[in-house]
Point group: C2
Chain length 284, copies 2
């Protein structure tokens, strides 16, 4: 890998070092880029990347920074897709990997536009982390119920990583944290902390309680002021979707029900922002 | 106003009460809807609504909930623009106001699409709040420097309102909190608390210091852990744009420099999320 071609050095070093070999792609039917097709259908895409789907075993990440973060965290890169007109050098980190350079027609098929501002990368999706292992080796968790908005999901993951949450647990109705828009909203911080699926809520909480983890439901309807709840030694913060929030059943099954007091008639905060406050409150 | 036509009653009561009179608009050149043209150019639009601009004195808000909140908070409605094919009843609150019902061609001219999911409303822009009045009558402030992303601006306003900030102060390089996308991101909570412009930073901080307000710069580079700073009796939390953050000069001119400690190599939080934590920390 050429020395000194870090992100900060790109502008002044254009042309100074050889770029990775680019493989031209001129046809959207080219089987080598099949994994990049159908990115725009958010629901279908997430299903296809799950076990049993035709793209199981892969996930897509976009943007130089995000791709670099995935590689830093040890994820395995399959290939990178760029526009053939890209002149900005690629991050050092992709050196030695397969780079597909697509023409305008192929890009239009993939993104709807004949240009690609950011590179798109296909990574190998890691095996799901065993839930038991996470529960025994960590002490601060976030549990998400029906959080499907990729932006909220990504920002929650970024907050969780930054604020000292050890692992994020998702119920079966949540979206995929490794869906490209969630990754992007997380600024690639989704790679910094483990996540796992838990069984359907509220029954899934039993597993946590069995591990001595105190569950804390966060909701405008919570009876305890968040400030007044001291940190349990093992804690899981439960968050519902923007709008509906946690289901009544999950609220009731949690050990604690806390609220962030609201002023000026405001009914609630955005879920990721409320999560940030709760994570910070419980962070060690 | 017909009784019982509240938001919750719409579905079952369709057709049961008369809807407000709709004035058809069939031509995008119709001078009555001039104020609705050019909504898609974010920068130009904000400039045109400022003093001296051709649309000074107005602001645009969109969505039933947002329009209702503006009316609840006493803002003056000029008119509402809907698609002529809208069948969902309008909120009670717009009863007696001018309703323009535009055909597909006019909608395409305005929004780029021949449909309008949410109503767009034109409100009278209130006179700017005098800064001195805000500074003497309140104790908790947020000060924004160069925050231009309408989504971040809106979420910060929602957080500020909900978490007990009394007023938001914006430097001359910030975007307009009454720009429609900022209003939308705030869920209409931008109407719940006053805001005002302050002079260029860092000099503008002198005005705050002169009122006995302690300024607290929030930055990953802050030297004090936010947790360790007790609430000053009068406090202003300083926030910079996502990415660059506060300028060095503004950081240096603030009385306190605080950080939210980060874990797992995460460099920072999204500015609105960091703001939520700081507002909650200082909230009374």
């Amino acid at each position: 890998m050429p020395v000194g071609l870090g992100r900060l050095g790109h502008v002044s070093l254009i042309g100074a070092y050889p770029e990775p070999v680019r493989t031209p792609i001129t046809n959207a039917d080219d089987p080598r880029i099949e994994v990049y097709l159908g990115l725009r259908d958010q629901v279908a895409r997430q299903q296809r990347e799950q076990p049993g789907g035709d793209m199981a075993g892969f996930f897509i990440a976009e943007g130089d920074l995000v791709i670099e973060r995935a590689l830093e965290h040890g994820f395995t890169l399959d290939s990178v897709l760029i526009g053939e007109r890209r002149t900005k050098p690629l991050p050092d980190a992709v050196d030695g990997h397969t780079i597909y350079a697509a023409n305008d027609e192929v890009l239009t098929e993939i993104t709807g536009r004949p240009a690609l501002r950011d590179p798109i990368a296909c990574f190998i999706r890691p095996e799901p982390t065993p839930l038991d292992k996470l529960l025994t080796s960590n002490s601060t968790f976030a549990v998400l119920e029906n959080v499907n908005n990729p932006n909220n999901l990504g920002v929650i993951m970024r907050n969780a990583a930054g604020l000292g949450v050890d692992a994020v647990l998702l119920d079966p109705t949540c979206g995929d944290p490794l869906y490209r828009r969630a990754i992007r909203s997380s600024m690639g911080q989704v790679f910094a902390l483990p996540h796992a699926r838990i069984p359907t809520l509220p029954a899934g909480l039993d597993t946590l309680h069995g591990h001595g983890i105190e569950t804390v439901a966060l909701s405008p309807a919570g009876t305890t002021n968040l400030r007044d709840l001291a940190r349990p030694s093992k804690v899981a913060i439960l968050l519902g979707a923007e709008g509906p929030g946690l289901t009544d059943a999950t609220m009731a099954a949690a050990i604690h029900q806390v609220r962030i007091p609201m002023h000026k008639g405001v009914d609630s905060l955005n879920v990721a922002n409320a999560a940030a406050i709760a994570f910070h409150h419980f962070a060690s």
